[in-house]
C-alpha cells in the first residue's frame, strides 16, 4: 500500500494517545467514513464538540490521512491481517487497531459499493417500456392492418449522467427474435453461475 509522506505522517499521528484519546480517535474515524460515504457530507462532519479542542489544521490533516488510508484499504480489499500489519507499523496500539477494524467492518460494504461504482462503462440499460399499436393506413398505403410494437430502452450513462433513450419499432416476429435472444443470454447466465 503506497501512501504519500504527508498521508503517512498524518496517519501515524493518529496512533499517539497523547494528542488523540480513544474517543477522539473514534470520532475522527467516523467523520472520515462519513465524508467518504455520505453524499450530503461536507466540512461540517468535523464540527463535533469533542473535536473542537484540536487545532483545525491538525484535525484536517489527520482526517484527510485517515480517509486516504481507508480508500486505499478498500480498493485493495484489505483483510484483517493486512490492516493490522500496516497499523502496527504505524505504531498503533492493539486497542486502536481493534477500533479501526470495527469501524472498517461497519462501513466496508458501502465503501466497496462506492468504489465499485466509479469508472467508465458502456451505456447501461435500466428499464424497458413498450407500446403495441395496430397500423391501419399511411398516406402511401391503405389497409395495412398489422400490429407493430414500439420498444423504448431506458439507458444510463455513468459519466455524463445523461439518460438517453433508445427507441425502435418492430413487428411480432422481430420482437420474438429479440426476446428469444435475451432469454438465451439469461439462460447462459444461469448456467455460468452454477459452475
Amino acid at each position: 500500500m503506497e501512501l504519500s509522506e504527508y498521508v503517512q505522517k498524518g496517519f501515524q499521528m493518529l496512533a499517539d494517545p497523547g494528542s488523540f484519546d480513544s474517543n477522539t480517535f473514534t470520532l475522527l474515524l467516523r467523520a472520515a467514513f462519513q465524508s467518504l460515504l455520505d453524499a450530503q457530507a461536507d466540512e461540517a462532519v468535523l464540527d463535533h464538540p469533542d473535536l473542537k479542542h484540536i487545532d483545525p489544521v491538525v484535525l484536517k490533516h489527520r482526517h484527510a490521512a485517515a480517509a486516504t488510508y481507508i480508500l486505499e484499504a478498500g480498493k485493495q480489499r484489505a483483510d484483517r491481517s493486512t490492516l493490522s500489519t500496516y497499523l502496527e507499523d504505524c505504531k498503533f496500539d492493539s486497542e486502536r487497531i481493534e477500533l479501526f477494524w470495527t469501524e472498517y467492518q461497519n462501513n466496508r460494504n458501502s465503501l466497496e459499493i462506492l468504489l465499485g461504482s466509479i469508472g467508465r462503462s458502456l451505456p447501461h440499460i435500466t428499464d424497458v417500456s413498450w407500446r403495441l399499436e395496430y397500423q391501419i393506413k399511411t398516406n402511401q398505403l391503405d389497409k395495412m392492418y398489422r400490429p407493430a410494437y414500439l420498444v423504448t430502452l431506458n439507458v444510463e450513462n455513468t459519466d455524463s449522467r445523461s439518460h438517453p433513450e433508445i427507441s425502435f419499432s418492430c413487428n411480432m416476429e422481430q420482437l420474438q427474435d429479440l426476446v428469444g435472444k435475451l432469454k438465451d443470454a439469461s439462460k447462459s447466465l444461469e448456467r455460468a453461475t452454477q459452475l
Binding site: G116, G119, H124, I125, T126, V128, T138, F168, L182
Partner: protein, 206 residues
C-alpha cells in the same frame, strides 16, 4: 372502388395497345424493377430505338404503368374493380388480362416497397449478446461483477445503426419478463376483437 385516372395518365397509357403483348410484359417487368431499385433512363433509350418511337413516349408508358400498379396496390383494390378501372381505357381484352395479371402478380411486393416509405422510426434488425465478468477496476480490485453486453442492430431509412449497451443480470430478467408480456398482449381478447372489427368494419362496400 375504382381508380381515378387523370387525362394525362390515360394519354400515357394509350401507348400500350400500340405495341404487342411481349413488349407490354417487358414494360411491366421494367416498371417493377424500377420500383425496386429506382429508374434507369438508359433503358428508355434502348427500348425507344427498338420500337422506333421517342424515348419520352416509352418513359411515359412505363411511368403510367408504374402509377397504375402502385395506386392499385396502395388501395388494394379487388380484381373486379381493377378490371372495371382499366376497361375505361378501351384497351383490347388481351391487354386488360395482361395488366390484371401484372397487378395480381406484383401487388404484394409493391405493397412491401410502399410500406418502407412510411414515417420511419429505427426498426429492429438483430441483436448479439455476450456475458462478461468484471474482475477489477482502477478503483476496486478483486471484483466479481457479471454483466451482459448487447449489440443492438437497428435499421433506419436504409442505414444500419449499431448500439452497444450493457445490463446487469437482474435487469436482463426484467427485460425478458416485460417483453414477454408485450408479446402476450396480442393474444388477449381485447386485441383480437379490435383486429377482427377493423378488418371488417361495418358498412364498408367493396
Amino acid at each position: 372502388m375504382l381508380l381515378d385516372l387523370s387525362e394525362e395518365h390515360k394519354e400515357h397509357l394509350a401507348f400500350l395497345p400500340k405495341v404487342d403483348s411481349a413488349v407490354v410484359a417487358e414494360f411491366g417487368r421494367i416498371a417493377v424493377e424500377f420500383l425496386r431499385r429506382g429508374s434507369n433512363p438508359k433503358i428508355y433509350e434502348g427500348a425507344a430505338r427498338k420500337l422506333s418511337v421517342s424515348s419520352d413516349t416509352v418513359q411515359h408508358g412505363v411511368e403510367g404503368l408504374i402509377y397504375l400498379l402502385t395506386e392499385s396496390s396502395k388501395l388494394m383494390i379487388s380484381e373486379l374493380d381493377f378490371q372495371d378501372s382499366v376497361f375505361i381505357l378501351g384497351f383490347p381484352e388481351e391487354l386488360n388480362k395482361l395488366l390484371l395479371q401484372l397487378y395480381l402478380d406484383n401487388r404484394k411486393e409493391i405493397r412491401t416497397i410502399l410500406s418502407e416509405l412510411a414515417p420511419d422510426l429505427p426498426s429492429y434488425h438483430s441483436l448479439e449478446w455476450r456475458l462478461d465478468v468484471q474482475l477489477a477496476s482502477r478503483s476496486l480490485r478483486q471484483q466479481i461483477k457479471p454483466s451482459v453486453t448487447i449489440k443492438l442492430h437497428l435499421n433506419q431509412n436504409g442505414d444500419h445503426n449499431t448500439q452497444v449497451l450493457q445490463t446487469d443480470p437482474a435487469t436482463l430478467l426484467h427485460l425478458v419478463q416485460q417483453l414477454e408480456q408485450a408479446l402476450e398482449e396480442m393474444k388477449t381478447n381485447h386485441c383480437r376483437r379490435v383486429v377482427r372489427n377493423i378488418k371488417n368494419p361495418l358498412g364498408e362496400m367493396e
